[in-house]
Symmetry: C2
């Protein structure tokens, strides 16, 4: 398997990105192509021992930053590390792409360059998160800020195929993120989506309130991209704030410091459990290629884990399954272009 990694995407690029590639190559035995200014990437690679046959560079002279308008940047910066990486996937020279750069540019680039799977209205970002009782997926976590009800049924179908194959859960439960448990609760979108989801060939368990999301009792959580991104960022933000506040409190007295030392293994396990870096990147489902968005602040370990996500995606053959699922169903789905 060949993975192309956007060498200049992310807050810690290119150092952490290159280091993550070296780690992933060793651990998973994949071939890796890094895009970016050849001399910069080479200088980073020179800091590590690595397999020169398995990690190569494709020169790219431009960088797309997070504050650029995505579509414009994609069109004017053809020689950017991102566009070059996407081109390799489009042309079949790489089996997957991983980027920690601008989310907007990455998602727009995947849709415009790698293109959608036939039958899919809107591709969706689908991170898998740690829950108390097991991992859960949020789909869409930010690709489509405004959604029509039909998009949500496709998100549910894509989430089902991915969760079933990648996480090995047969007939995963699907819930609609909503502000009430009852069928008639919510906004215009969720009320309409509920009626459509009921009719789909999925294990639909109804509405799930945000309060219950961290429990991880439902496998696939369907929502529009605005709500999904809010859920994702609240999850990260609240966990981070609580853990940092506990740390501050522990440092407050001698006795609590000792208590903190005794609890070090607890906090370590805990931090690891809630650390997005352990979970790697989020798959962008619905495009005709394996496209993984790593967290913007990815360190080497997070980037390595994002490459792992691309490998599992590849090894389980989910992309082909996704294509055939929508090829068969396209006549019954209400496609809205």
């Amino acid at each position: 398997m060949r993975v192309v990694v956007d060498g200049m995407g992310g807050d810690n690029s290119p150092q952490a990105i290159v280091e993550g590639c070296v780690l992933a190559q060793k651990e998973y035995g994949v071939e890796i192509i890094i895009t970016g200014p050849k001399e910069k990437i080479e200088a980073e690679l020179a800091k590590h021992e690595y397999n020169k046959n398995a990690i190569t560079i494709v020169d790219a002279r431009e960088v797309i930053s997070t504050n650029e308008a995505p579509v414009k940047a994609l069109k004017t910066k053809k020689d950017s590390s991102l566009v070059k990486a996407l081109d390799l996937v489009k042309n079949g020279e790489a089996d997957a792409v991983v980027s920690a750069g601008s989310t907007g540019a990455f998602l727009a680039g995947c849709t415009l360059i790698v293109k959608r799977i036939k039958g899919i209205s809107r591709p969706a970002l689908a991170p898998v998160m740690p829950g108390k009782n097991g991992p859960f997926m949020i789909i869409d976590a930010g690709a489509n800020a405004d959604c029509k009800p039909q998009y949500l049924t496709q998100f549910a179908q894509m989430g089902k195929v991915y969760f079933e194959n990648v996480l090995g859960v047969n007939n995963p439960t699907v819930g609609l993120v909503n502000i009430g448990e009852e069928e008639e609760k919510g906004n215009d979108l969720t009320k309409a989506a509920y009626q459509l989801l009921k009719e789909e060939d999925i294990n639909f368990i109804g509405n799930i309130e945000p309060r219950d999301i961290p429990k991880g009792k439902v496998n696939v959580l369907v929502c529009d991209g605005f709500v999904g991104n809010t859920v994702l960022k609240m999850y990260e933000g609240v966990a981070e704030t609580i853990l940092s506040e506990i740390k501050t409190e522990i440092m407050g007295s001698f006795v609590t410091k000792i208590g903190g030392v005794l609890l070090t293994p607890v906090f370590k396990r805990f931090k690891k459990h809630y650390d997005y870096k352990e979970y790697g990147g989020a798959a962008f489902l619905g495009v005709n290629g394996i496209c993984i968005k790593a967290h913007g602040s990815s360190d080497a370990r997070a980037l390595k884990n994002a490459i792992k996500v691309s490998k599992v995606y590849y090894d389980t053959g989910v992309l082909e399954k996704m294509k055939s699922a929508f090829a068969e169903e396209k006549d019954t789905l209400k496609i809205d272009e």
Copy 2:
């Protein structure tokens, strides 16, 4: 000051409600009227020592449950504890109402019976939450699942008046909850609302990403009721799950149990800080009366604190300030009915 409390609202009614009323009467010296079946409320009151001149009962034979359609329930159950309570505020026989019952029925009842302040399009639920650097308000936290951009500017204005007077923060900062920091990010609603908020006479600091909400750096967070309710419930859910998981981990070994004992004061302070019960109820702003929604699972302490919120609301004269703020501004506001 006279507060009427819906004696039959909430998961723990009437026991916890009545106990909370007794506690609040003692601590704040307010007069309290409890609505509900006279004999039931009397039986609960008999369990406590209380000032019989300061706590009275208004008999109400019906109860509105959380799974009833709000408007229909309000219209058919005129003799319910909720409708009777709202009638007392409407008729000026009580200065404030507190209910831990059905949120939908309470909000609809406040709007239909107590009525809106002149100039307000949509009243909004505005809980004040604990943040790392201080409390913050979410407005709207669930009253309006679908919003127009103009509603959000009114939420901002109402939030400003309340925060300024009740929390004593001069010219509080106002942020728009959004999934990106930049002006052009978000969905159709937030993009349009951003442009309107820029023009308002408020201390608008732009978009705030959900990840930064728990830090409490922005005083008033404006959003539609669906997003606000999601933020509120994620906050509660993630905090609850993390604290319960840490507890489980601590019980895992002898050493960590000792660590846990040494950290007891830390966890206690911490739990108190994140406990919604400490923060009492959420004010429903924009209606022509002091209407406080207590958490559905309120215990006696939470109910007592909700009564405290109503007292501060009353003592600071915010309702009159709110009315005059909108009376003056009504010509410039784009009212949408």
